[in-house]
């Protein structure tokens, strides 16, 4: 495969936090950059106590250098009426600013964000081989104000859970 994913142990997330935070470029917009750094930092903190599993993505062909993006996943549950439904939660999905919004022919003609989300989907199915899970869910950064992001998730089959336009889910 032209790309691979690396999971980080809790120890690495703890001891390599600074270098992992410096491993990608954030948005050119300073406010957005601050927000992205804070969210990645929080994900690393949670990864350091096994509350989320953090993965990085790399290009194995060497065409794109360094870490292309991160995705962090955890197990959770939602309450639908009175039914508890186990879910896989996408805690974080972030693409290195250098590689955003570009479709890469050598990476399955895909954007990095698309591959990170599909990887999350593949992990969902891995989990389902061992324990029951019903939905892949996430809370889009910036909420419905971030139309581009929300449209991206909608294009992959996600829907808002309620008319508060916060949580999004996909049934898999």
């Amino acid at each position: 495969m032209p790309y691979t994913f690396t999971p980080y142990t809790a120890t690495t997330a703890k001891h390599e936090k600074r270098s992992l935070l410096n491993a990608i470029e954030f948005s050119d917009n300073s406010a957005k950059s601050e927000r992205e750094q804070a969210l990645l930092s929080k994900a690393l903190s949670y990864a350091s106590n096994n509350s989320t599993q953090l993965y990085s993505m790399r290009d194995t062909t060497g065409k794109l250098k360094g870490i292309l993006g991160f995705v962090a996943l955890s197990a959770s549950e939602v309450l639908i009426d009175n039914h508890k439904k186990p879910v896989v939660l996408v805690d974080l999905l972030i693409v290195n600013n250098k590689y955003r919004s570009t479709v890469y022919e050598h990476l399955d003609n895909s954007k990095i964000s698309q591959l990170l989300l599909e990887y999350a989907g593949s992990k969902f199915y891995d989990v389902r081989e061992h324990i029951g899970v019903s939905y892949l869910i996430l809370y889009p950064d910036g909420g419905q104000g971030n139309k581009r992001l929300v449209d991206f998730y909608k294009s992959r089959g996600f829907s808002y859970a309620t008319n508060k336009h916060e949580w999004m889910y996909v049934k898999l």
């Binding site: 309450l79 009426d81 199915y125 949580w167």
Partner: protein
């Protein structure tokens, strides 16, 4: 656990409780074929943990 960034801080967001019509919609949601096909058509490689 999920996070959102608000007023310069990262806040943990509570998991949702979905009721009424929203609950019906979610329980009866269809699996998006295109997304699933896209996932299953790829062989994702996960390296040894770092």
């Amino acid at each position: 656990m999920a996070f959102k960034y608000e007023n310069g801080k990262v806040i943990q967001v509570s998991m949702p409780h979905i009721t009424g019509e929203d609950a019906k919609k979610m329980l009866n949601a269809k699996v998006p074929k295109k997304f699933v096909e896209s996932i299953k058509s790829k062989k994702f490689v996960t390296e040894k943990a770092a």
